[in-house]
Symmetry: C3
Subunit: 257 residues, 3 copies
Amino acid sequence: MAIVTLLTDSGESDHYVAAIKARIISINPGVRVEDISHKIKPNDIGHAAFVLRAVFRDFPKGTVHLVGVDSVGNKGDLPIALQLEDHFFVGSDNGLFGLISEKTHQNLIALNSINTISTTFPERDIFAPAAVKLASGVSLSDLGKPLSVFKKMIDRQVKATKKQITGSVVRVDSFGNLITNIPKEAFDILSKSKVYTIQFGGEKFRRIHTEYNQVDHGECFILFNSMATLEIGIYKGNASELLGLTYDSVVNIIFEE
Amino acid sequence: MAIVTLLTDSGESDHYVAAIKARIISINPGVRVEDISHKIKPNDIGHAAFVLRAVFRDFPKGTVHLVGVDSVGNKGDLPIALQLEDHFFVGSDNGLFGLISEKTHQNLIALNSINTISTTFPERDIFAPAAVKLASGVSLSDLGKPLSVFKKMIDRQVKATKKQITGSVVRVDSFGNLITNIPKEAFDILSKSKVYTIQFGGEKFRRIHTEYNQVDHGECFILFNSMATLEIGIYKGNASELLGLTYDSVVNIIFEE
Amino acid sequence: MAIVTLLTDSGESDHYVAAIKARIISINPGVRVEDISHKIKPNDIGHAAFVLRAVFRDFPKGTVHLVGVDSVGNKGDLPIALQLEDHFFVGSDNGLFGLISEKTHQNLIALNSINTISTTFPERDIFAPAAVKLASGVSLSDLGKPLSVFKKMIDRQVKATKKQITGSVVRVDSFGNLITNIPKEAFDILSKSKVYTIQFGGEKFRRIHTEYNQVDHGECFILFNSMATLEIGIYKGNASELLGLTYDSVVNIIFEE
């Protein structure tokens, strides 16, 4: 039996998360449920996509990821279920799922398209039952009418040339670390035989570290993190506060021969 | 084996929740434990009762709900266990359980009445062992001496006449949505063949929606939510902040022939 | 199969906690995982040690406690695993484990000492696999090279004489209660046949209570809590705010013949 993970912006001061879990338990108590997070900023698709993209592949193939962020979506957003990179995803077609992978989906259906119900709580009444079915081995194609495409938003792109990589901060984590979208892969290729300068805010650095503790307390570290993207922080400090950088701040790596 | 749910105001920065879970696991590791919330505002019986009332029936019958909010209670408040609507509840007789249902309880006993212990941590030392016993199938009557009544507070009442329904905001959720105590049932009966105006703060509305996304971003929606009570919000915004309404704010529905 | 508990300062707005759980599930889905807390103040070893010390013994012997607080540690801090009071602990040798018990450890090894890997996410890549092995019954000695000692910080000491006990506040919990390091055992011995005065801030008290509700709303209570240490609070109020006391505030008990 597969696991169902939950990712929502519900917070934990209300009954919403418990209602989703109770629905899953009531349908099939054998399904294991694991929280990813319920602290996504309200309606923040970008935040949710960042977290989901960072962690879904760590779960076993076949895991079902129920996403309840901006679930109501905009008028016309359908509830959908898809198979992507051998994982299942259930949620609203509001653009979030288009931000978590570059790969083509393996299967895609519209939920609530057979025996349509009306509800103000789709996570509990549409997504949870579908997630339980998928976790129990029901074929995705049996859950609704096939769709050909789902919404793909344009994510902020990294620009890379032989002279420069331009990226930006895509997440400020709870420690104040600034996580960028600059991939190690691009850096490794473009930096060969070159001197590089990393530039952000008013700062310039010429060294990339390999571990968080290679600088002294209060000093800036720059490294490629466990997601293989460039990350900037202050050792035992809050980089976002101290450097005045935030979501969308620009980060450049400039190469010289 | 039944599930034990946990609802407390302990927060998650201390060891209190883990201590309750550890006690349950130590007595019977086969008992499944699910959190409802540990973010209830300290000692806030109203908040806790709202959340519990909203979700307990979604769990399977026989679920044991351990409530640790204002557990110490006032002098004279006993630890109790009761069966109500085919669910079990364990906690302090501080009035909370009187706010979650209109139905008559099926069974009621005083905990810690046989082999009385003294403790400053009743959730771990009295409620958890009792909850495990109930989840394991021990009869409620075996857990303590029978009681005939438990505390019933007077909850704020909705007033309904042919001309007007007067209710109030009973919960502001994490999105800033204003959840009232006005039941859909009363509205459906009283609004037949009538024009209605919904009035709150300085606002007046003449439409009730059926889904959250039937208004534009930043506009007000009013609908009957998944608990079948009237709810007011701002689509993609925080109604409590934007409308200046809060817990106890009055909401009227006025009928004209 | 033993349980693995998690204690981190990761917060719950990112993917870090889910990544640790996903790694555990991927290696052995039969291992039960329970959160102690993910709300430890960033890098706050004192806070983490307080919570862990307060609750680990409530879990069954053989439980594996994975601690991810200041995991990167300072240069030279090794990832370690130890057996202490019949429980297992996995984390960084940054001094935290030296604060949770007075007893001598039973076994101690350096993790990542055989088949060393390099990672910026040791909780997921080093601690989690080790924790799963321990929970699955693998011998601690098989996980790495033996160590003889781990870091022991000097914790703030209680001073006790026949005339006075001097302690301090070691934790302000989410209710604002002030938990001190003054042990009931010392008080019981030194207070025999003596009149005592408890003094903190500008306050003096001559009574110790046995339950939280022995004073009226808004009044101060002083009792020995479930950890058998002196605790000060305001009944239905926040003592830290109202009395102006905080972490490290001094609390004295003065004895007179």
